[in-house]
């Protein structure tokens, strides 16, 4: 403890680089030690399971489900230890001298720096974004296979087992490895800067959060290698179908644990950062709406995610420990799984939407050159969604065989949650009104988002009504609804955010023409793909089917063609990002003439974001108000200093 304190003091005085690490490659944290520890972890897990099973005379000794459980817990931990994620904490707990955090690892000099454990929030933000877009592409390729199979009725390309596998893994990757964490990535990069902080509150926890994510993705993808193919009970993984499946189903159950743990850790980090590390003058009602959105989202994540962890643990116990939570033969209750699952997975819809709402608010205000209409009500409607979001989960279960009376209160709350959501939509429209709108690429995505999300929201109101849901649930109407909400909704906001902050993150401008081409192609292809699915579903096509009534052949063909164009449109985005990152025009500090703090510093920001802690003096969206300022940087500041924060406060403890 004393050592630690002294080092802490030293580092605060000056950012002296640490002495070079003299340990050999097998001992030094990094990929080589990571590989070594992974192998050791694999050996320990295997020996542990087979050893205990042979001691207990259990047959067979080599039982795949038990081994998979041990592997998916122990091997990732060993890998993380090898990469050095735990080093500081282990040294501290065991009383060894800890490596002082000297920030020498901050920043990224070359692409290689993104492949090691780094505690810099900006590096972690980029690591997140690259990782999640990798899984976005994989999940997208699976969608291409799904649409190829569905282009015609009958079985052509993939058999029903592979089809169910692709739909299940597609949804799992898109939800747990793309939409949920992409906002953690964007938030990681911009939120500390937006509130005038130098880093997140817990940088080491931040690194751990990130490194758990590729592990989750790897486990989920590895299920394809197991006997029987990938898990194929849908991303909802309902019991008892999940328990009936081959052992690859465990990979969903355990993969989700890692993604969930990553999500919870990041959310805690955001909460503490936003509550304690705002710059002087940054009151809650001077926070940009993205910060509000992240604050409410993080609260949802922390409260709700343990429920999906619980649901998957109980499934795992049923399979591996032979408990009977959802096994009818042993007195289990099948619908109970759905209650626990949706208690997370409905709030998860808002976890995937609220940060996007925040991004859209930023972009609309900047590119319409107007203040957000009804800022306070916008912030409070986020809070209203947070509370209501916990009282609507059973609308996914109107026909599931739960207590009949429960449908009515769940329907009422479900319909009421449309009110704060509607407030946001109307306020965005009012923000556009009498603005001076600049249609740069981020703005196209934001305006496109409003129209697409409204369609998804309205079909959501229809599904929220029990009688309509009795007809439409589990059909392609729901498939269309979820894609209008999560693609036309979340993914459009993600693209808005990525284009908007691309100059800040890379210090280069993206290609505007390619960005616009990407938007228009996606916008048209998206509607071609998904709109007719509303009709097909209401007419009688159930979802999650590898084969369907030939009466729906034409519309499915159109859907598939739209799907392929949609897939191709993503290539434009990737090309634009890669080429612009390498050789785009250098970006000025504030290309959009925005008022929020992240645009008042250089692009990309310096290692510690600010030379001195900014002083916030007004609201974030005072466009058109003569002389209004949001922040004062490096200038003569007012004497008001409510919260003196040391420049490196975030880096310790």
């Amino acid at each position: 403890m004393s050592t630690h304190t002294i080092e802490h003091g030293e580092h605060e005085v000056g950012h002296a680089p640490s002495p070079p690490d003299r340990r050999n490659l097998l001992q030094r944290p990094g990929w080589i030690r990571g590989a070594l520890y992974t192998a050791i972890g694999f050996g320990i897990a295997t020996a542990f399971v087979t050893g205990i099973r042979s001691l207990g005379d259990l047959d067979p000794v080599w039982e795949l489900d038990v081994l998979l459980t041990a592997w998916t817990v122990i091997v990732p931990l060993a890998f993380l230890a090898g990469m050095g994620v735990f080093s500081y904490w282990i040294y501290w707990v065991t009383g060894k001298p800890t490596q002082p955090e000297d920030h020498s690892g901050h920043g990224a000099e070359s692409w290689k720096d993104y492949f090691r454990v780094n505690t810099d929030h900006k590096v972690i933000g980029v690591q997140y974004l690259i990782t999640v877009f990798f899984f976005f592409i994989i999940g997208g390729l699976m969608a291409m296979f799904i649409r190829a199979e569905l282009a015609e009725p009958g079985t052509q390309l993939i058999d029903p087992n592979a089809f169910n596998g692709f739909t299940s893994v597609h949804a799992t990757l898109m939800i747990f490895l793309f939409v949920v964490p992409v906002f953690a990535g964007l938030g990681n990069y911009v939120i500390p800067i937006m509130i005038g902080a130098t880093d997140m509150a817990f940088p080491r926890l931040n690194a751990l959060s990130f490194w758990m994510l590729p592990i989750a993705g790897f486990i989920i993808l590895a299920s394809f290698l197991l006997p029987g193919g990938a898990f194929s009970a849908g991303w909802t993984n309902y019991a008892p179908l999940a328990t009936q499946q081959p052992d690859s189903n465990l990979m969903f159950q355990m993969g989700v644990q890692w993604a969930g743990a990553s999500s919870i850790a990041t959310a805690l980090n955001f909460l503490v950062t936003i509550i304690t590390m705002r710059a002087p003058g940054m009151t809650f009602f001077r926070m940009p709406l993205l910060v509000w959105a992240n604050f409410t989202t993080s609260t949802l994540v922390v409260l709700a995610t343990p429920f999906i962890a619980g649901s998957q643990f109980l499934l795992m116990f049923d399979r591996v420990l032979h408990t009977n939570f959802f096994e009818v033969a042993g007195g289990g209750y099948v619908v109970g799984y759905q209650h626990i699952f949706w208690f997370y997975s409905h709030p998860a819809v808002y976890i995937m939407l609220l940060p996007g709402f925040g991004i859209v608010s930023e972009v609309l205000s900047v590119f319409a050159r107007k203040p957000i209409f009804g800022y306070r009500l916008m912030a409070l409607s986020l809070v209203a969604i947070l509370f209501l979001g916990f009282s609507v989960w059973a609308h996914h279960m109107f026909v599931a065989g739960m207590a009949p009376w429960l449908r009515i209160p769940m329907m009422i709350t479900t319909l009421l949650i449309a009110v704060p959501t509607g407030i946001k939509v109307f306020s965005w429209l009012a923000t556009l009104w009498e603005g001076r709108i600049h249609f740069k690429t981020p703005m196209l995505w934001a305006v496109g988002f409003i129209s697409m999300f409204v369609i998804g929201g309205l079909s959501g109101i229809m599904l929220g009504s029990v009688p309509i849901d009795q007809h439409a649930s589990d059909t392609y109407f729901v498939v269309a609804h979820i894609h209008y909400v999560l693609y036309g909704g979340s993914v459009f906001t993600i693209f808005a955010g990525v284009y908007y902050w691309f100059p800040k993150m890379t210090g280069r401008m993206y290609n505007e023409a390619l960005g616009k081409a990407h938007f228009w192609l996606t916008f048209v292809a998206f509607n071609v793909t998904f709109f007719a699915q509303h009709w097909v579903g209401l007419q009688g096509m159930p979802r999650r089917v590898a084969d369907y009534d030939p009466a729906f052949a034409n519309w499915n063909m159109i859907s598939s063609i739209g799907g392929f164009v949609l897939g191709a449109s993503t290539l434009i985005f990737l090309y634009n990002m890669l080429v612009s990152w390498r050789s785009g025009a250098p970006a000025p500090g504030n290309p959009w003439r925005a008022l929020t703090i992240e645009w008042q510093i250089s692009s990309p920001p310096s290692k510690y974001n600010f030379d001195e802690i900014p002083q916030v003096v007004g609201g974030p969206y005072e466009y058109g108000v003569p002389g209004a300022r949001h922040v004062v940087l490096n200038g003569s500041r007012t004497v008001e200093t409510e919260k003196p924060e040391p420049a490196t406060a975030g880096a310790e403890h």
């Binding site: 009804g374 449309a418 029990v466 999650r544």
Partner: protein, 371 residues
């Protein structure tokens, strides 16, 4: 209303927005004053656009395209009413949003090199209350109406038929458990009901969750292992409609289909007589009706029964030369011998078929294909 009036005094009768600019310490109302004619045109144009988009959406959504299949039940009609009502509200909201978006995009576009800011409008309490209260009222109306429909649809007259439904991977079977028409205990492979006679289905599943859906009846209900779920319906239209499993239940989910035949009183009585006759005659004749009733035709091809299913092996070829014992074994425990090119676990075991029916089915298959 008060705030509107306050706004009027603040910006000379023309500005519809009360503009609140927060400056340190005090709230100031401020607003630009465009000429009255400009402002009026603005809103008239917007109104026209809303009406046009609304009309187009209305025609596409409710007139030109039939979104729902023919309705064939009392309950379905009530669902269609609430569907229509909700659609109209949604179309109105969509038209408004689309019109404002399109209008703003066209009208408020900044010219090249325009470095001006928009009007610093921070909000308007009246407008914000308006768009909080109106949607609340609309969704409340939808909610109350929906709740009434739910209660009405759950309430079946006491004088209704009860049919047990068993859903198992990947087939449906039905048994008539009440005394009506002397069908007591009769197990059949397709659902046959009288038109205008209320039916309550008592649904069970021995394996995983399935869902019973007849699109023309609108109603849908999951079939859940461990509990009995209920499906209440009053068919109003004669005809044959598909029964579709809508809950992912494994490899054969997309082919887990069956049909319901809604018959007139005369046709229903004739069908009952046919069933009795098949039971009485026994042997291969009964076997053929068991083959139909157990839904074998959904997955297997058998030319003698006009069956053309393609999920499982073609019985015309695989049964050739098989003994009665082998055929019986493949029905009771399908995974014992798997034909080449087919996956294990797709066909459920049919051990629960009554012994005499099983004998008749085996006899029928031996006669038609085995020998």
């Amino acid at each position: 209303m008060g705030s509107w009036r306050a706004a009027s005094t603040a910006c000379g009768n023309r500005c519809p927005f009360r503009i609140a600019v927060r400056e340190p310490g005090r709230l100031v109302f401020r607003g630009a004053k465009p000429g009255p004619s400009v402002r009026k045109t603005l809103y008239i144009q917007l109104l026209l656009l809303t009406v046009v988009i609304g009309a187009i959406t209305f025609v596409i959504s409710l007139v030109a395209i039939s979104w729902l299949p023919t309705v064939a039940s009392e309950e379905g009609k009530r669902i269609d009413d609430i569907y229509l009502f909700t659609s109209v509200i949604c179309i109105g909201i969509f038209a408004l949003v689309a019109a404002v978006t399109v209008y703003a995009v066209l009208k408020f576009r900044a010219g090249p090199g325009d470095m001006e800011d928009g009007k610093p409008i921070h909000g308007h309490t009246g407008v914000e209350i308006f768009w909080t209260v109106i949607p609340t009222i609309l969704v409340t109306v939808i909610g109350i109406w929906s709740a009434v429909v739910v209660v009405q649809n759950d309430d079946l007259p006491d004088d209704h038929r009860i049919v047990n439904v068993e859903a198992q991977q990947f087939a449906w079977s039905f048994s008539y458990i009440d005394e009506r028409d002397g069908l007591n205990g009769m197990q059949v492979g397709e659902l046959v009901v009288r038109v205008n006679e209320p039916v309550e289905l008592h649904m069970r599943s021995p394996d995983v969750i399935h869902a019973f859906w007849v699109p023309e009846w609108r109603q849908k209900q999951d079939v859940v292992p461990g509990i009995t779920t209920f499906y209440r319906i009053t068919p109003t239209l004669e005809g044959t409609f598909p029964i579709i499993c809508t809950e992912l239940c494994g490899l054969g989910h997309s082919v887990m289909r069956n049909q319901v035949r809604v018959l007139s009183d005369a046709d229903f009585d004739a069908w009952v007589a046919d069933q009795q006759q098949a039971v009485d005659s026994g042997g291969a004749t009964l076997g053929q009706s068991v083959f139909q009733n157990q839904g074998c035709a959904a997955c297997h091809t058998l030319s003698a029964a006009d069956a053309t299913g393609a999920v499982g092996p073609d019985l015309d070829s695989v049964l050739a030369g098989q003994s009665a014992e082998e055929i019986r074994q493949s029905i009771v425990d399908p995974n014992d011998v798997i034909s080449e090119g087919f996956a294990e676990g797709v066909m459920p075991p049919y051990g629960a078929v009554p012994e005499d029916q099983l004998d008749a089915l085996v006899e029928y298959l031996v006669t038609e294909a085995g020998g």
